[in-house]
């Protein structure tokens, strides 16, 4: 089997699964800045699948591609710690405000710059939107087949890959030609942990912009001179030759017209304690009004 070139699309997301009260603004909306950021969980599954294929096919190259603000460089470092060969960061203020259509356009521009490739892997969906759109949108723009909800890659030959998909009511095994794009389902194996040696090797990996920040000390700059692999490539609008009308807000057809914070109310709730008396009283009421029994 020939080595493959795999691009993993990964996103840094606010940890919406653990929205604490301190992250809520008085009007009931979420203060994004207060939320910790994490590697999107499904994308970690995608990274694991890529690394698993790399284990099975020696010489395979795994490249992590992310788009986001500067702090998303954490995603690239995390990819290195777990076994990725390379990381690329697409970052530019002008990409901000992108919906899934503009995001897929931007990512595809980056992917094309990285071509050739055999496989593009990404998580099924990101927890900050749950849309599951960016994968298929990229596949369409690249004019390649898509295999969504992949749970396992069963086998491959030089021109064909066979994978099992997890559907809502069952499973399906499909074969596709290369190149193709797969979105990886959360039922696939969880990602391996960081490897201590790789953490040592890559912990000073930085983007150019990060290096320019005032807090950077001289030694870090010298280190990057000596070890160029520590400098994470960073692509802006011009680097990927993106059209301004297709990126950011301008390239995003969906717009938020209004946002309402949710105030849930019911008429009167009966508040009970966990005492035997209270619970028996409630059960009796429910039986009497034929809700149960």
């Amino acid at each position: 089997m020939r080595p493959l070139r795999i691009i993993v699309l990964a996103k840094q997301v606010p940890d919406t699964r653990n929205v604490g009260t301190d992250a809520m603004k008085p009007d009931g909306t979420v203060n994004r800045g207060k939320l910790p950021t994490i590697f999107n969980p499904d994308d970690l599954h995608a990274l694991e699948l890529a690394l698993n294929i790399k284990d099975r096919i020696p010489g395979t190259e795994v490249i992590v591609l992310t788009m986001g603000p500067q702090r998303a460089a954490d995603i690239i470092r995390e990819g290195y710690y777990r076994g990725a060969d390379k990381g690329i960061m697409i970052s530019d203020r002008r990409f901000g405000g992108a919906d899934t259509l503009a995001t897929s356009y931007t990512l595809v521009k980056g992917i094309k710059k990285l071509a050739p490739f055999d496989l593009i892997l990404g998580g099924r969906q990101a927890i900050d939107g749950d849309t599951a759109q960016v994968g298929p949108q990229c596949a369409e723009k690249l004019n390649i087949p898509q295999v969504t909800y992949v749970e396992e890659v069963i086998s491959f030959t030089d021109n064909q890959i066979i994978a099992k998909r997890r559907l809502e009511k069952g499973v399906e095994t499909v074969s596709s030609a290369f190149p193709c794009l797969m979105t990886v389902h959360e039922s696939s194996p969880v990602c391996r942990s960081r490897i201590a040696k790789r953490v040592m090797k890559y912990k000073y990996a930085r983007t150019k912009t990060e290096l320019k920040s005032r807090s950077t000390d001289e030694n870090l700059l010298l280190l990057h001179d000596k070890r160029p692999y520590l400098t994470i490539p960073e692509w802006g609008v011009e680097d990927i030759d993106a059209e301004m009308s297709k990126i950011g807000l301008a390239g995003s057809p969906t717009k938020v017209k209004s946002v309402e914070s949710i105030v849930l109310t019911s008429d009167e709730s009966k508040v009970l304690s966990d005492s035997d008396t209270d619970i028996e009283m409630m059960i009796k009421e429910l039986i009497e009004n034929h809700t149960i029994g």
Binding site: G28, T29, Q133, A139, E140, S266, L272, I279, I283
Partner: protein, 339 residues
């Protein structure tokens, strides 16, 4: 007026439940717009399918009947849908937020360069004034969905890149027959003319679809657990109670993520929407993403240690306490008092 389109999913020559719901939602939008409702139905052996589709008030059915179209594969369905949508240029296109719809819709949105809003809970028609252009856009689709951790509900619109697309979860929209004898025009698609070899590059080797034994949608009583249940073992109490009451057990996303319960029992915006007679929320804080899927229950009991849990605000009964303490007591007193 431009049409409202619905992409219909077909399983074993039957229109999927979600597609029936979408046709009804589409009809309501079409009536507001005074425009026709059209359906795209692709599959194999669909001679009699119109009888299932037309009663929802469908004015025109775009029918592609070919053995290569079943089971569903992305590329052949996408190629045919693209061809139709480019030619017909509809105003609105709706898809189910199913493993089929969520696979196909973004591919089409990308090809047509248009907006797509996922997992809407409300669809409506309305206007929007764009300040920058000093122009009022009439009759836009309001695609309304909970967003961002469930703390907000957002109205998503799209005024400049058509069509306007949206996906909707199963169980969210109400199914309504307009007229059993509604007359739909049928337009047969010449599949051979559209499909190319590269559309068939992906092959299905094996397929195993199981009818789920979990029937949350029909269950009159649901005992649902959240992260607050604490462990998979504690979920046993929930199963005991639901068996006793003749109900089903469901879970919040947090409970599914924690591995307490299977994902096919997930209730909420990204799971199943339910409307039971009684909903017992055990250790569920009640983020809108969850409540969006159960708030229409006739009676809600919230069991929570946190008196401030949002679930308590929509509950009819609030029991402040630990799930592993309260549920066994409910079992005990049900056994004692039931006739």
């Amino acid at each position: 007026m431009k049409s409202v389109f619905v992409y219909c999913e077909v399983e074993n020559k039957k229109i999927a439940e979600i597609s029936q719901e979408l046709l009804s939602a589409g009809k309501r939008l079409a009536q507001k717009l005074g425009s026709p409702l059209e359906a795209m139905v692709f599959g194999n052996g669909l001679k009699d399918i119109a009888k299932q589709v037309a009663p929802f008030g469908v004015d025109k059915i775009h029918l592609a009947d070919d053995e290569r179209l079943e089971p569903f594969r992305t590329l052949p369905h996408a190629s045919i849908a693209k061809e139709i949508l480019k030619k017909e240029d509809p105003q609105i296109v709706l898809f189910g937020a199913t493993s089929v719809g969520r696979d196909l819709a973004p591919r089409l949105a990308s090809a047509l360069n248009c907006g797509l809003t996922a997992d809407c809970t409300i669809l409506d028609i309305g206007d929007h004034y764009v300040n920058k252009e000093k122009k009022e856009y009439k009759d836009l689709l309001y695609a309304i969905r909970p967003a961002f951790g469930g703390s907000i509900i957002a109205n998503i619109i799209n005024w400049d890149m058509h069509p306007q697309m949206a996906t909707v979860r199963e169980g969210v929209m109400k199914k309504e027959i307009v007229d059993e004898n509604y007359n739909a025009e049928i337009e047969s698609i010449d599949v051979d003319k559209i499909l190319k070899d590269e559309d068939l590059i992906l092959k299905i080797i094996e397929r195993h679809i199981e009818e789920s034994d979990v029937n949350l949608k029909e269950a009159p009583i649901i005992v649902a657990g959240g992260y607050g249940v604490g462990s998979k073992e504690n979920f046993d109490y929930l199963y005991q109670l639901s068996n006793l009451l003749g109900g089903e057990v469901g879970g919040s996303r947090a409970a599914v993520d924690a591995g307490f319960i299977d994902h096919n029992r997930q209730i909420g915006q990204t799971g199943i929407t339910v409307r039971p007679k009684l909903y017992i929320a055990a250790g569920i804080s009640g983020a809108i993403q969850h409540t969006a899927g159960m708030q229409e229950a006739s009676l809600i009991i919230s069991i929570n240690k946190d008196p401030e849990a949002p679930m308590n605000k929509i509950a009819d009964y609030v029991i402040e306490g630990d799930v592993s303490d309260v549920i066994p007591k409910m079992i005990k007193y049900y056994k004692k008092n039931a006739k």
